[in-house]
Symmetry: C2
Subunit: 658 residues, 2 copies
């Protein structure tokens, strides 16, 4: 065909947030046009301002037409369209001769650093940008660098290589790195629960970062530091929230956004019943402990004392202070309670017949609170003396308060039932067993049991049925030794052999209504049941790629599950634990894996890790950083840059580092 071709190029300032169908009835137009020019010196321009936050976003686009590598000069006609900058190009095309159309766009916001004014910068960048091929080259190079730093490779036993698992892990890696990378290190951003991929939760930040940080920590820890500063900048708002709720210290919100205030909804819709239900998820106070945990993990990997001094310590101290103030003394049992909260399991937000929301002594919450208090008490021995003195003065920390923290960290109450089963919360044992078989038979998919029960006029609050890991989160976050230490400090016997019983108990009572759940379960059974771990792991891999929840993926991928599956390979199946200035390894490949290799970064060293069922090989790249301590099978080895160590693995070995 030969003839005249019309090409319409536009910048659209009328974009609406219309990606989540059940949000359609709510306000979804957030942009006001401030300026547009179409076309002006070969560029299209658009400057919009967000309606509430007054954030400016400028775009400039350069359209280039060419034929056989020769530029084609076509004078565009401006097209009048409301809130939109559009231009029409008309070109004669001839059969068999390709026409090449390149649209190169530059975007700046008023929050970018090193700018004069965002519209000016976008014009300059669009004008000066090289052609598509050059841009694609540099894009590819940056991705190849990320890939080298983050890659992991799997081998499968006894069959031809099936790369499906590896490909899904790479997809997960792609989404994690789209959301947080060296490119975001200089921005005031966190890890939204749905990445930058979809509009569900409106970009809000939950505790999900807990599942993403460990993977980043051991690859490019500077990314984690930057994400933690996002939380640090919102410490003031967390203090304000604690104050408003009548507490001292810092209480981070369950859903966090722009300025760090609580953004959780108070009502949510059950599409099953069409009813609006009260939403108490903000009672998940454990999010603050997750932040303290993330700070600590980052510190363990990097020993970045400057970060701890200027940002981390203050967060830990203020979160500890919150827990100490939120805990109430129970005269009867001479222990401290934490009352009226929710654990990670969102099926339970109240006692069956209660008027008010909230549960007492959620085991996960209480253990984490005690752990945070221990970390806060350890800070004086870690921080430079003058920095700790500054913090003590700025926060008005008195010796009596620290004594109280110490007491609570030793006498927090933990509920148990059935001889050694840690109760999800106090009174859990009085709930009814749930008819899993019956409901599965009736509904098939019962992941969102809460919605099914509510539609029936019932409530999961009545049953021993969890949406996701709650007690079992403890075995995900802590090694058996760490838990033993914590429980011993609290005066509870908790021998390691109790752990498998607890795991079995809750595994049987979980619907996996959260994508995070299978990740945690695959993790906690990795040592006791290699087949089940593999099955849960591969099922976790399916979360988004097959839209396991039937419709939530198009609203945005699940960042926690994606980070978590990567971390399962990186830390769980290698048995990596960072503790006591040592990087411990204790590999346990699941049934479906015959080989695993990846690169870690630890205290200035790049470490190649290569695992088979029999062998662990660790190889430190040449470099000038001080030697590191690597622990294998209870032994610590000093390893310097350029050295390689190989270890025979035995069937029976210590479960975790001493």
């Amino acid at each position: 065909w030969s003839g005249r071709l019309q090409i319409r190029a536009a910048l659209d300032g009328q974009v609406r947030n219309a990606g989540v169908s059940r949000y359609q009835g709510l306000s979804n137009q957030h942009l006001n046009l401030r300026d547009s020019g179409c076309p002006d010196r070969g560029l299209l321009h658009l400057l919009v301002e967000t309606s509430q936050s007054r954030l400016q976003v400028a775009q400039s686009a350069r359209l280039t037409l060419s034929r056989r590598g020769e530029p084609l000069h076509a004078e565009p006609t401006a097209m009048a369209e409301p809130g939109c900058c559009a231009a029409l190009y008309e070109v004669d095309v001839a059969e068999g001769v390709a026409l090449c159309v390149e649209k190169v766009l530059a975007l700046f916001t008023s929050r970018d650093t090193a700018i004069s004014e965002c519209a000016l910068e976008s014009r300059k960048a669009a004008t000066e940008a090289p052609d598509f091929a050059t841009l694609a080259d540099s894009h590819g190079r940056i991705w190849s660098h990320l890939w080298q730093r983050f890659d992991l490779q799997l081998g499968h036993p006894g069959r031809e290589p099936d790369n499906r698992n590896e490909r899904i892990l790479h997809l997960h890696l792609f989404h994690v790195l789209q959301t947080a990378s060296p490119n975001t290190m200089d921005l005031d951003v966190g890890i939204p629960a749905r990445g930058l991929h979809g509009e569900a939760y409106r970009g809000h930040i939950f505790w999900d970062e807990l599942f993403v940080f460990p993977m980043l920590n051991l690859r490019v820890p500077e990314i984690t530091a930057s994400l933690l500063r996002y939380r640090y900048r919102r410490l003031g708002e967390a203090r304000r929230a604690a104050r408003a709720a009548g507490f001292r210290g810092a209480m981070y919100p369950w859903q966090s956004a722009s300025n760090g205030r609580e953004e959780s909804q108070r009502l949510h819709l059950n599409p099953q019943s069409g009813r609006w239900i009260e939403d108490h998820s903000r009672l998940q106070r454990h999010v603050s402990s997750a932040i303290a945990y993330n700070v600590w993990q980052y510190y363990e990997v990097t020993r970045d004392l400057e970060f701890l001094s200027f940002y981390g310590a203050e967060m830990i101290l203020e979160i500890a202070r919150f827990w100490a103030d939120a805990a109430t003394y129970n005269e009867h049992r001479r222990r401290y309670d934490i009352l009226g909260v929710m654990g990670p399991d969102e099926y339970h937000d109240a006692y069956p017949e209660a008027d008010a929301a909230g549960l007492n002594n959620n085991a996960y919450t209480n253990v984490l609170a005690a752990w945070v208090l221990c970390r806060a008490l350890a800070l004086p021995s870690l921080l430079p003396v003058e920095r700790y003195r500054e913090l003590r003065q700025s926060l008005s920390l008195e010796p009596e308060e620290l004594d109280r923290w110490d007491t609570i960290s030793r006498t927090m109450f933990l509920p148990f039932h059935d001889q050694g089963i840690l109760s999800q919360f106090e009174g859990y044992e009085r709930l009814s067993e749930f008819d899993w078989e019956g409901y599965r038979a009736r509904y098939g998919d019962i992941q969102r049991l809460d919605r099914l029960l509510e539609a029936e006029g019932d409530s999961p609050n009545r049953y021993k049925a969890s949406k996701q890991a709650d007690v079992l989160m403890l075995f995900y976050l802590f090694s058996a030794e760490e838990l033993e230490e914590l429980f011993a400090r609290l005066g509870y016997a908790f021998p390691p052999e109790t752990i498998p019983r607890n795991i079995e108990y809750y595994l049987q009572r979980t619907s996996h209504g959260s994508t995070l759940s299978r990740v945690v379960h695959a993790w906690v059974v990795s040592r006791s049941d290699r087949d089940r771990s593999w099955e849960l792991f591969t099922r976790s891999l399916d979360s988004d790629v097959t839209d396991i929840q039937g419709g939530t993926t198009k609203e945005g991928i699940h960042m926690g599950a994606m980070g978590g599956t990567l971390d399962l390979v990186q830390r769980c199946y290698t048995g990596v634990v960072t503790r006591g200035d040592t990087l411990w390894f204790n590999p346990a490949l699941p049934a479906g894996l015959s080989r695993l290799s990846l690169n870690l970064r630890y205290r200035g060293h790049s470490l190649g890790v290569w695992v088979t069922p029999d062998t662990l090989r660790l190889s430190a790249a040449p470099g000038g950083a001080p030697a590191i301590r690597l622990g294998v099978a209870g032994q610590v080895h000093e390893v310097a840059g350029g050295e390689t160590r190989e270890f025979r693995l035995h069937r029976r070995r210590r479960a975790t580092p001493p």
Copy 2:
């Protein structure tokens, strides 16, 4: 007196930049009103937007009236004033009863992190802020923390304590910390030449930070890291500038502002003659080397490999690349030249009879360029292998280019005259001697000789007369050993005994037209002439406190001179040098000092330093950081947290560390 009192409270959106009288004829109103409310729920509000950069600034003020500690409720009347938000309060006052008026103001900008919208945040903050006494308390506490970290104390010999010098140093410290402190670490800001104090140079950033960073490095190095990131963010613009000038690599501007483009004026006014003169100061390309030097100094003090990896190395490599490309091969002498630049001395911008601006082979510029090339060549042995590989690929660094850098770093030309005097630039020796006596007799103050000569139709370009240290900057930045190494690599003999001759030569030919000049001279004579060093040092202290230049202080204090005087005490008189993983000390108190004590921070340690003419005491505060290496009189001592070492000082000692 008793009666009715009117109190007018306002937020003024009509503020002009009118602090520098010779800028009065230029545009000086930069704010557009976007919103104001007066009063609204007890607050005054003002939201303005800067006219060019569209930066929003929101203020909210809370006015509280009280009598005898009891709040007084007075309903204000709004006052209509253009671009201003004002309210009138009327109160009855009675003789002998104090009325207390508190105005508490909160200011946010659209560039602040962790905000929803700046006007909203300022309202919230002004509403919730505590009373004046509480605010003043916390303000005082923060300052006392800064004071503890930065304090230095002087003792004077043989007389009653005269605290004048100490008080001026504290004033300098105050201004440095007003400009850069932990409060600015999260902002995209640099060190403006006049601090945040006055409007001269319109807040632009010069090389002056070179005189401020060393002091910050050894107290709170995280501040320096943040200020260096300001430069890193503008690396793209420095690359653009190099490209525009026909060079590869990065060419930082002499005057930098918002987006990092060159902001230097092309004409300036000589108030002496009333004429507008061409301004070639942008030819001071050495500013890029100063940035590389600052990166290196920061790294030497902290060994912050992550900073070097992600920010510092790329700057050093791109600046090295610029110098290698700017250097041209001189067939005749088989060495590399750098042509057409200006050195630090601003009296010389061209050869006397030349048509074009620029001088050839400015010694300072050439030595620094060779030094930058050496630092760039050292990076592969310092950086993590994968990071260096990434940089090599991203920057397309080929082995041939590195070979060329190596060659140039060994064959850069340096001009000499009069047997061992390093010429300020090639051909300097052909200039006429200046009639210092005659001009001093005629004008008294000849600091700004350039203006006097221009008014006479003459030019300093004709004379061996410098405004400020140029060649001597080398002895300020480098130890004798470092210089010897650099010169040896370049194939020039430069025995240490030549240094005093060079110093004497240029000291006699300098008018001190820059406040930086005396700082440098006090430094370079500190070992050879303790009386003169003291005299120059105390004269430097006067720069702003007595407005030594007759009128420039009210346009803004001189940040470089302030930082430099502090650094004279901190590094020069203690002989502190950071080199080769060792912190060297070699105290040499000037004539006017009998004692010196201060606290340094080095690689995670807090180090008390106490110096008398006979004794050096070093005391590391308890802490867990790895032991550090302290060098005294050629010996290196490993010192751990909690240890104190004392050294007897001898009259004759090594001039500088080996």
